[in-house]
């Protein structure tokens, strides 16, 4: 049984090919890196796995279940145990740190409108337990978040906001966690701590998919990586193997001007390549 298998996954935006025929298998318990230059389709891939928009074609299967995730709305995907963080941070800024984590627990709580309105003992107990567990989750990051539980999320430092996103995603009790550039905006010390945190998450039994532009982090924690360029997977393997490959260097640094200069096309070649759907 494959943990996450992606078969021929494609996404077009109008005429723009953001992701093309992606095939990928992620093993349970791995930290799997998705790398590639800007606009290579990494975030589009995350958005497809989490149901932010439907795929143009292709399959995403999770834990051997017959359902194709590429067709499901995001809340159903979340309920199956996949959660994520966002590259450009999507915290609930005007809610407290604790409330942010509690929203992450939504699928694990039961109470409906009526029992909430009447505040039945059952609801009260559930809330109490949820709060305790949310505090425990904040404690995952030591003293970084827990003492700030009652502060609005907007008041957190940048690194703490990244941590809160992770805590909120963990509140869903995911089997698979997608981290989209979790180290962006962190200084080197914070980045090192983050690597440690990701390892602890993995050791806790959560498989991790990771997009990261800081390749030293990728080198430090990823068991395997896939390299995307122009919406296609150009290679896959252990990072140390992959990083020396000419295609990868080319993807990152661009083709050397001295090679391939003759391969020009006039007119007919004027087509868009892949474009990442992200905006910054």
């Amino acid at each position: 049984m494959e943990f996450l298998s992606v078969v021929a996954l494609s996404k077009n935006f109008g005429g723009l090919r953001a992701l093309h025929e992606l095939n990928l298998v992620v093993r349970e318990g791995d930290v799997f890196g998705i790398i590639g230059p800007n606009g290579s389709g990494k975030t589009t891939f995350f958005n497809l796995v989490t149901g932010m928009f439907p795929a143009t074609s292709g399959d995403i299967r999770f834990r051997g279940e017959p359902t194709n995730l590429a067709r499901l709305p995001s809340h159903e995907i979340a309920a199956r145990g996949i959660s994520r963080t966002f590259q450009n941070q999507r915290l609930f800024d005007r809610m407290t740190v604790l409330e942010n984590v509690l929203v992450g627990m939504h699928t694990r709580l039961r109470s409906g409108l009526l029992s909430a309105a009447l505040r039945l003992p059952r609801t009260r107990r559930e809330e109490q337990a949820a709060k305790q567990r949310a505090l425990d989750l904040l404690g995952f990051f030591g003293d970084r978040l827990r003492p700030r539980a009652e502060h609005p999320a907007a008041s957190l430092s940048y690194a703490n906001r990244r941590r809160l996103e992770i805590a909120r995603a963990l509140a869903l009790q995911p089997k698979l966690l997608l981290l989209d550039e979790p180290a962006a905006g962190m200084n080197p010390t914070e980045s090192r701590q983050l690597m440690e945190d990701v390892r602890r998450i993995r050791d806790g039994g959560v498989t991790v998919l990771l997009i990261e532009h800081d390749l030293s982090i990728v080198a430090g924690i990823c068991d395997r990586v896939a390299v995307l360029d122009h919406g296609e997977k150009i290679t896959e393997g252990a990072f140390e193997q992959v990083r020396g490959e000419p295609r990868v260097i080319e993807a990152y640094l661009g083709r050397s001007a001295r090679r391939g200069g003759k391969a020009r096309e006039r007119g007919g070649g004027l087509e868009a390549g892949g474009g990442d759907a992200r905006t910054r």
Binding site: G15, Y252, L253, R255, A257, G261, G269, L270, G273
Partner: protein, 235 residues
């Protein structure tokens, strides 16, 4: 011509640029290299007044332009080829080009002559001049964005990652064209991720990493330095 002195910018609490100093002299082509999220686009937006620096100054032709409204900076002779092209999709090709010349006051004839010049550079645009921008292919949109900037008859062109999202063959074609424009005397400030190709056509280069300039020199020096590899592929 263009000079940034110790420019620092923030986005909310996050510092994007840290004391960035760089310069483009008249007739030069300077490339600013950097990996994902290094602060390249922010540098461009700061030059154009769309992002206000927390400290430091920007000057153009010896005149401080820090904090001026964008349209006044444009009027001084800077044109932009924006990131992801950003052409007007609901306007025709010709109207897009006309907008490039919006700030010009040197008369219909001069503008008309430049339109012909742009059409001679990009015959494809002439064929499609009545089509809406949104119907063009990615490569054609890039041509249009470049043509639109040329229509301003600028002293300096800023280009924000023109290679992004284009097929490799097309990127080479584009860079050849940029090199031609430069040879004809245009000053260019090119922001790129594609290091090898842009260094092969530029005069000088700066390398931006996490918001700071970590390396600068002539294009040949930078190309030879192995630190560039590190700036992109990690330490």
């Amino acid at each position: 011509m263009l000079e940034l002195v110790e420019v620092t910018t923030h986005y909310g609490p996050l510092r994007i640029l840290h004391r960035v100093s760089l310069e483009v002299r008249a007739g030069e082509m300077v490339v600013l290299l950097g990996g994902n999220a290094a602060g390249k686009s922010t540098t461009i937006l700061t030059i154009l007044g769309a992002v206000k620096p927390t400290s430091g100054s920007v000057s153009f032709n010896g005149e401080a332009i820090t904090g001026l409204p964008t349209e006044q900076i444009i009027r001084r002779g800077i044109a932009l080829v924006p990131e992801a092209r950003r052409i007007f999709r609901r306007l025709s090709v010709r109207e897009n080009l006309a907008l490039g010349a919006y700030r010009r006051r040197d008369g219909k004839d001069a503008i008309g002559a430049d339109l012909e010049l742009v059409y001679s550079l990009f015959p494809r645009l002439k064929e499609r001049e009545r089509q809406l921008g949104g119907t063009l292919s990615g490569g054609e949109q890039q041509m249009l964005a470049l043509g639109r900037a040329l229509m301003a008859r600028p002293q300096l062109i800023l280009m924000d990652e023109p290679s992004m999202g284009l097929a490799p063959a097309l990127v080479e074609q584009l860079f050849e064209l940029i090199a031609t424009l430069h040879r004809r005397g245009l000053s260019i400030f090119l922001v790129e991720q594609n290091a090898n190709l842009s260094l092969s056509i530029a005069d000088r280069a700066y390398v931006l990493q996490q918001g700071s300039i970590v390396l600068s020199g002539t294009a040949a020096e930078v190309l030879a330095n192995d630190q560039i590899q590190r700036a992109y592929l990690g330490a």
